[in-house]
């Protein structure tokens, strides 16, 4: 606490445009960044955490405006700078990395050129020196084969490599302050762990001050020195990480911490005597991208000999990193995609042998909840239609279907008035509830939930998970629950299947999997979960 703050934000107020849900995006925030320390700014969507980060970089969108406060940096109030002074500071003294490294990089420029731009922007070094420096930076952030990477385009890199390249760019001019806006949210858990470690190491070596924006308390636990909790644009709690974690003072902090799913699976009653709801035998699927007349085909094995059963009333988790084949298996089980080989049975019906009308008649038995509550609802249809369309198509009288839609909305905790409204009028959590109601409208026996809570804030996530558990028990449903988040899987699954490169490498009851993971990949996944130590030791 003795080091002098390099950045002091005092009483920052950022006004939202008229007609927004509240007058201020950021409402009187004060915080300090100190050299060699990481301050995590935590909050749910709409808390104003990203606005704080952008204000510090002078990158606020035109629609909002700073109405009062100051940001002191190296003896100047940043909010009073003109454009030229800002340009001089950005990149050189203040650097930023973003959430989605794919969109944050220019798709038409080579990685190396985007790195050297950093020097060019500030008129430093000769072109030759810049290239040498770019190589050195690529090496420093642990990019494999730097000579090749600097000549590559962003789409040729993996997500983790792209974020490393972003970090290399940000560090090029040895800035005093690094602003990281959810830099690991879009990454797989194992990649996330590596990137967090990289940021940690670089920040220590260079004695940088870091403002780290995140919604994930696991990440906070891994990386923070100081924690600032934001809610509705106001700081509700701040302090050293260990204190905030172990003795949270504010109710909101306590609620947020409580909502973080823990890695300890709750006890679950055994289901051994139940009938089989789904049986999947030897499912194979290889995607072949035709290479054309003069080139070899590209083959991706999305499913390799996948076997599992789901009992009545059971939730089977399917976990793995992106590209492991989780979603492909979900689509195969639902027969949205045809398998190359293998059988899917729903109860006693062999779904894979059906086609045409017979298949359509069985489809209602297995329904899906999608990941993105924004993209999965037709923006031009009213909620009533979205829910009732399925049953009406299956022959239910419209009036009956709409009555049922009303009941379903009540069941998922929404007002019946929602029937007449459009998707954009609802929040993410509410839309996911609508998605659940839509899936239930066809009275399925099995629900396939594909990353159904991944896009939601932790508190909303906890509510939706509770809702799913409750509905499952009341309606006697079985569930195939796909997630990349082992903490969520621990909370809701009876058994978990771990997928890697299209194959299930381990399938066990949840408690057993967490207590004694056998496969090396399972162990790797478990070790990479952020905040695994749960409580940070006092620094």
């Amino acid at each position: 606490m003795t080091a002098l703050a390099v950045v002091s934000i005092r009483n920052l107020k950022i006004a939202l445009p008229k007609g927004a849900e509240r007058p201020f995006a950021v409402d009187g925030v004060s915080l300090d960044l100190k050299p060699g320390k990481i301050v995590c700014v935590v909050g749910e969507s709409g808390s104003g955490k990203s606005m704080c980060a952008h204000a510090l970089m002078g990158l606020l969108p035109d629609t909002v405006s700073v109405t009062s406060g100051e940001i002191q940096f190296e003896g100047r109030d940043l909010l009073k700078l003109d454009d030229d002074a800002w340009r001089d500071l950005r990149g050189r003294r203040l650097a930023m990395i973003f959430q989605e490294p794919m969109t944050a990089l220019n798709p038409l420029m080579r990685i190396g050129d985007q790195m050297t731009e950093m020097f060019e922007a500030h008129g430093l070094l000769t072109p030759k020196e810049r290239r040498a420096k770019a190589l050195a930076l690529a090496r420093e952030v642990g990019l494999p084969d730097p000579e090749r990477i600097v000549r590559a385009y962003p789409h040729q890199l993996s997500g983790g490599q792209r974020q490393r390249a972003m970090i290399a760019m940000a560090l090029a001019l040895e800035p005093a302050v690094l602003v990281a806006d959810e830099p690991t949210t879009a990454l797989d858990v194992t990649t996330q762990a590596q990137i967090l470690k990289l940021i940690r190491n670089l920040q220590r070596n260079r004695n940088m001050a870091v403002m780290f924006i995140t919604h994930d308390f696991g990440v906070v636990a891994d990386i923070a020195d100081q924690v600032v909790v934001l809610r509705h644009g106001k700081v509700v709690e701040e302090g050293p990480a260990a204190v905030v974690f172990n003795e949270p003072q504010h109710d909101y902090t306590k609620a947020l911490l409580a909502a973080v799913p823990s890695m300890d699976p709750p006890a679950r009653s055994p289901l051994d005597d139940q009938a089989r709801a789904v049986e999947v035998i030897g499912l194979d699927k290889t995607y072949v991208t035709s290479g054309g007349w003069f080139r070899e085909d590209r083959r991706v094995e999305a499913a390799r000999a996948v076997n599992f059963t789901i009992l009545k009333g059971e939730t089977l988790g399917l976990v793995g990193e992106s590209g492991s084949g989780k979603s492909s298996v979900a689509r195969l089980v639902m027969r949205l995609v045809e398998a190359d080989r293998g059988t899917v049975r729903i109860g006693e019906t062999d779904l894979t042998s059906l086609s045409g009308k017979a298949l359509r008649a069985e489809r209602h038995r297995i329904q899906m909840i999608f990941q993105d509550p924004f993209a999965s609802l037709n923006p031009r249809r009213k909620i009533g239609h979205i829910i009732a369309d399925g049953p009406i198509a299956a022959g239910t009288a419209p009036k009956v279907a709409f009555d049922r839609a009303r009941d379903l909305l009540k069941m998922v905790g929404l007002d019946a008035g929602a029937l007449e409204r459009y998707p954009h009028e609802f929040s993410g959590g509410q839309r996911q509830r609508i998605g659940i109601a839509r899936a239930l409208a066809l009275e399925p026996e099995i629900i396939v939930a594909d990353e159904a809570v991944s896009a939601l804030d932790v508190s909303v996530q906890a509510q939706v998970l509770r809702l799913l558990e409750d509905l499952k028990a009341r309606l006697g449903l079985s569930m195939l629950f796909i997630t990349h988040d082992l903490r969520v899987a621990a909370q809701i699954c009876d058994r978990i299947a771990v997928m890697q490169r299209g194959a299930i490498v381990e399938l066990k009851p949840t408690a057993q999997l967490f207590a004694a993971p056998e496969h090396a990949y399972t162990r790797e996944l478990l070790a990479a979960v952020p905040g695994r130590k749960e409580r940070v030791p006092a620094a």
């Binding site: 970089m57 990158l59 340009r87 001089d88 500071l89 950005r90 990149g91 050189r92 650097a95 930023m96 973003f98 989605e100 969109t103 944050a104 990089l105 220019n106 798709p107 038409l108 420029m109 731009e117 950093m118 060019e120 922007a121 500030h122 385009y153 789409h155 972003m166 760019m169 940000a170 290479g291 054309g292 007349w293 003069f294 080139r295």
Partner: protein, 323 residues
């Protein structure tokens, strides 16, 4: 890349042959017999003369055989003989092709250059009077029919102020040579090329503007700002380059339409290109010539499309040559 081109050329040839067959059948489906028309115009409509004509031009053979002969001719780059003009079709077309290419390529260059320039200005100063002016200007040319613009152009620049010639490729009887000829042709070219180019310029202006405003909001532009780059560099290197991708696509589609537009422009300005040739052939029922023009136009569209694809792959590294 070479294999990509080879593959595309091969596919192009197949498409071209299909077009040839389709055009051939369509034209023969139309009522009327060229031999009867020709014999009638020669003032000798007796059956023997018609029969002679039909034998001479191979019109007495069954349709499949005629088609086979025609396709065989195409493969050996023989487009047949024009009954009306008493000359090989390929010779007639080759005489006219340079004028059309000169007109369309100039129009294309004008429309792209001005369109991107105006679009960039409008996007750069979005919401100001300049943006409004450019947008309205573009909308006017987008909405006006080509022939009307052409006629107004003639009225203003040839009749009223008399700066530019109103028709033709060069001054008849001028007999200019060397640089003087270039100037003469250029003077004749300005109005047809501008007329043809303005409509397309308007679409590129609108597209560039919309596309730039969209790209401006993307994350990597924020990254560029976070680097401390100057606004000019950000606009040029990050915004414009990405914004041009849809414009390139559109321009590729247009390159074919341009030739269609040339028919009207060439007719109004009496420009001696294949647009005029096609128009005349149509009025005179000169089937072989018409077919020949169709084949050449189709080939040009295919070639322009190939060039567009190559350019697209050049500017967007995400597209690989094999797909």
């Amino acid at each position: 890349m070479l294999s990509f081109i080879a593959q595309r050329v091969l596919k192009g040839v197949i498409v071209l042959l299909a077009i040839v067959v389709l055009n051939f059948v369509l034209i023969r489906l139309a009522p009327g017999d060229p031999a009867v028309v020709m014999a009638g115009e020669a003032g000798a409509s007796d059956q023997v003369f018609v029969k002679q004509l039909r034998e001479k031009f191979g019109l007495d053979k069954p349709l499949p055989e005629q088609l086979f002969i025609y396709v065989k001719g195409i493969v050996t780059l023989d487009l047949g003989f024009s009954f009306r003009q008493q000359a090989p079709v390929s010779k007639l077309i080759l005489e006219r092709l340079p004028a059309t290419l000169l007109l369309t390529l100039t129009a294309f260059a004008i429309s792209l250059t001005l369109g991107i320039l105006f679009g960039t200005c409008a996007a750069r100063f979005a919401g100001t009077w300049l943006d409004t002016a450019v947008t309205i200007f573009a909308l006017i040319f987008y909405a006006m029919p080509l022939f009307w613009v052409a006629l107004m152009g003639i009225l203003l620049f040839s009749v009223t102020v008399d700066w530019l010639p109103s028709f033709g490729y060069e001054t008849v009887g001028g007999n200019y040579t060397g640089f003087a000829r270039v100037i003469d042709v250029a003077k004749h070219l300005i109005m047809p090329a501008m007329t043809l180019g303005l409509f397309f310029m308007a679409t590129y202006t609108r597209m560039t503007r919309a596309s730039m405003l969209e790209v401006k909001r993307l994350d990597f532009v924020k990254t560029a700002r976070a680097k401390g780059l100057s606004d000019a560099v950000i606009q040029r290197r990050h915004v414009l380059r990405n914004a041009l991708l849809p414009v390139v696509t559109l321009a590729g589609v247009h390159s074919g339409t341009l030739i269609g537009g040339a028919v009207i422009t060439e007719t109004v300005f009496a420009w001696p290109g294949i647009g005029r040739l096609m128009y005349d052939a149509l009025l005179q029922r000169d089937y072989n010539l018409l077919l020949g023009v169709f084949v050449i136009c189709s080939a040009m569209v295919l070639i322009f499309n190939l060039i567009t694809d190559l350019v697209y792959r050049l500017v967007d590294p995400r597209i690989e040559f094999a797909s």
